[in-house]
C-alpha cells in the first residue's frame, strides 16, 4: 500500500519534470530562433537555418548603417520617457485628490472616469486625427505623447486611487497635527509609501509606447518620425519578406532591454496588478 503511493508519487514527479522540460523548449524556441536568425548570414527567412554554419554580426551593423533603425529607437525612447513622466504626474495627482479629499463632484467625476476607461481607444481615432491635424501636431512626437497621456489617465487614476485608499490615514493625520501642508504630506508621507504602484504605473506608461502600433501608425507619417513598432512591422510585412534577418536583429535590440527591465521589476509588477485588482 505504502509502496504503491510512493511509486505513484515518483511517477507524478517524473511526469511533471517532463512537462516542464517540454514547455521550456516551447517557450524558449521562438526566442532562440530569433537570436540565431539575427546572426545568420543571408537576408531572408528561407536561407536562415536553425544551426547556421557561421555566425555574423553583419545584420546589426547593417541595421545601424543602412536603415533608420537608430532614429526609430531614439524616437521611441523619447516618446516613452516623456509619456512616462507626463502621465504618471497627471495620474498620481488626480488619484491623490480622489483618494484623500471629499469634495463636491467627486463621485460623479470618478464614475465618469470609470466609464471612460471602458470605451475602446479607437472610438476617438478619427477625432484625434482631426484634432492633431488642426493643431498642427500630426506627424509630430508631441501629438503622440499627448494622445498616450490622455488615454492612460482613466485606468491609471482608478488603479492608483485604489492603492492610496489602502494606505492608513493615521499617518497623514499625524503629519497634519505636526503642521505639514497638503503638498508636504503628499511628498513626504504618501509618496514613499506608494513606490510599488508608482513603479507599476510608470513602467506601464513607459512600455505602452513601445508596444503601441495603432496610434503610432495613425499619427506618425514620415519615415524619420516612426517608432520601433511601426518601423519593424513594415520591415517584416513588406513584399517577399526580404528583410527578415535585419528585422531579427532589430527585434533582439528592442526586446533585450525591455525584457531585462521587466524581469528586474517583476516583483513590483505583480504587486501592482494584484493591488489594483483587490482594491478596485
Amino acid at each position: 500500500m505504502r509502496k504503491n503511493v510512493k511509486i505513484r508519487e515518483n511517477l507524478t514527479v517524473a511526469l511533471i519534470y517532463l512537462i516542464l522540460f517540454v514547455t521550456a523548449i516551447f517557450v524558449l524556441y521562438p526566442i532562440v530562433w530569433i537570436i540565431v536568425g539575427s546572426m545568420n548570414p543571408g537576408d531572408t527567412l528561407f536561407s536562415s537555418t536553425f544551426f547556421p554554419q557561421r555566425l555574423s554580426l553583419d545584420h546589426y551593423i547593417q541595421l545601424f548603417t543602412n536603415t533608420q533603425y537608430p532614429l526609430w529607437y531614439a524616437n521611441t525612447l523619447k516618446i516613452a520617457t516623456a509619456n512616462m513622466i507626463l502621465s504618471t504626474l497627471l495620474i498620481v495627482t488626480a488619484a491623490y485628490a480622489f483618494s484623500r479629499f471629499r469634495f463636491p463632484g467627486r463621485r460623479q467625476t470618478l464614475m465618469a472616469m470609470l466609464i471612460l476607461q471602458m470605451f475602446p481607444g479607437f472610438m476617438g481615432m478619427v477625432a484625434i486625427y482631426i484634432l492633431l491635424l488642426q493643431m498642427g501636431l500630426l506627424d509630430n512626437h508631441w501629438g503622440l505623447i499627448l494622445v498616450y497621456a490622455g488615454g492612460s489617465i482613466p485606468y491609471g487614476t482608478w488603479l492608483v486611487k485604489g492603492y492610496f485608499d489602502g494606505l492608513p490615514r493615521s499617518l497623514e493625520e499625524a503629519a497634519k497635527m505636526d503642521g505639514a501642508t497638503h503638498t508636504q504630506i503628499f511628498f513626504k508621507v504618501m509618496f514613499p509609501l506608494s513606490y510599488p504602484i508608482l513603479t507599476f504605473i510608470a513602467l506601464n506608461n513607459f512600455i505602452g509606447p513601445w508596444m503601441d502600433f495603432i496610434f503610432a501608425r495613425l499619427v506618425l507619417r514620415s519615415n524619420e518620425n516612426k517608432t520601433l513598432a511601426v518601423g519593424l512591422y513594415e520591415m517584416v510585412t513588406g513584399r517577399g519578406n526580404t528583410e527578415f534577418t535585419n528585422f531579427a536583429a532589430g527585434a533582439v535590440l528592442v526586446a533585450v532591454p525591455i525584457t531585462l527591465l521587466f524581469l528586474f521589476l517583476q516583483k513590483y509588477l505583480i504587486e501592482g496588478v494584484t493591488a489594483g485588482a483587490n482594491k478596485g
Partner: protein, 441 residues
Amino acid sequence: MEKRDRGLHSRHRVVASVLSTIGMGLGQVYNGQIVKGILYLLLEIYVLIFWTHPFLQAMWGLITLGDTPQKRARGRIVVEGDHSIFLMIGGLIFLLLFLLFLFVYYQNIRDAYLNGKLRDQGFAVPSFKQTLKNVWEKGYPYILLTPTLLFTLFLTVLPLLFGILIAFTNYSAPYHLPPKTLVDWVGFKSFIDLFQLKTWSTTFYGVITWNIIWAVVSTFTTYFAGLFYATIINHKRIRLKKLWRSIFILPWAIPQFIAILIFRNIFNGQFGPINKMLMDMGFQGIPWLSDPFWAKVTIIVVNIWFGFPYWMALMSGVLTGIDREMYEAADVDGATGMQKFWKLTVPMVLYATMPLLIMSFAFNFNNFNMIYLLTSGGPANPNYSFAGSTDILISWIYKLTLDQSQFNMASVVSILIFIVVATFSIWNFSRTRAFKEEDMM
C-alpha cells in the same frame, strides 16, 4: 426681536444669488467682496463680447454640418464650401467650453449664496486675501485635479463624443467625404443598416461570433494553463522552482509586438521553420495563416504562449496564500491529487482572481495587436465586407476607418463594443470591495 432680525437678514443670500444669476459678480459686489465681484464681472463681459458670435457660429455648424458644398470647375476649387467634420469638431469644442463656462457661472451663484448666508448669520464675509488663502486650502483637490481633468476632457471625452456622433451621420466613402462633399445627420440609419443590410449584417454576425469565441477561449486557455503550471511547479518535490518560473515568465516580458511578428514568421506557410521541418520529414505543410480554420487555431496557440506567464506569476502568489491545513485535512480524508486540485485549489483561486479574469476577458475581446499583427485579419473572406476571416470587431473597425473610410459604420460598431465591455466592467466593479466601501452607487 431675534426672529425679526433673522427674517430681515435672510434676504442677503436670496438677493446675492439673484444678483449673481443676472450678472456674474453682482452678488459678490452686493456682499461687499468688490475685487472678486469685479473679476467675475470682467470675465463675463469678456466672454459676452468676444465669444458670443463664434459660439453661435459653432452651434450653427454643429446642427447643420454646413450647407455649402464645394464647387469645382475644370479641376479648380471655385467655392471652398463647408467642411462638415471640422464644423462638427469645432462645435463640440465650443459646447464643452460653454459647459465649463456654465460651471464657473454656477460657482459664482453658489459663492454669492454662501457669502450671503454668512451675512445672514451675522458673520463677516472673508476679504480678498482670505479668499485666496481659502482657495488654496479648501480648493486643493480641485487644483490637483484641474490639469488631469482638462487633459481627459479634450483628449478622451471630446474624441469619444465625436466618435459617438459620427454613428448618426453618413460620414463615409465614397459619397460623403469632406471637403469635397457634405456630411448629414441621418439618425439611426447606420445602426439599422448594420443589422438589416445583408452586406453589413453577414459580416457583423460572422465577425462578432468569432470575436466572442476568441475572447472566451483565449481567456480560459491562458487562465488554466497559468494555473496548471503554477500548481505543478509548486509541487513539493520539484526542485529549482525559481529557475522554472523565470523561464516561463519570459514570454510576458518580451515586447508583445515583437513576439507576435516573430510568430508570424515561425508560422509562415512557405518559409516558416515549422512547415520546413514538417516538409523535411515528408509531411505536407499546414496552412497556418492562410486557412481560416488553421489561422484561428494559430492565433489561440500563440496567445497561450503569451498569456499563461501572467497568470502563472499571479497564481504562484495566490497559491502560497492558501492555507496548508485544508490540504492536510483533505489528505486525511484520502483525497487524490486531482480531487484536491478541483475541489480546493480551483474554487479558491477563482474567488481570488475573479475581477482580473473579467478584466482579462474584456482585454482579449479588444486584443487588436494579437489579431492584426499575426494575421492582419486574413485570410480574405469573400462573404465579408472589408473584413477577413480572423478579424475581430476592433480590427474590423481599424480597417473600416483607416483603409475604407467607412467612418459611420466603424463608429456604430465601436458603440456596440462599448456596450459589451461596459456591461462586463460595471458588473465587475460593482462586486469589488472598493465600490461598496466608497458608496459609489
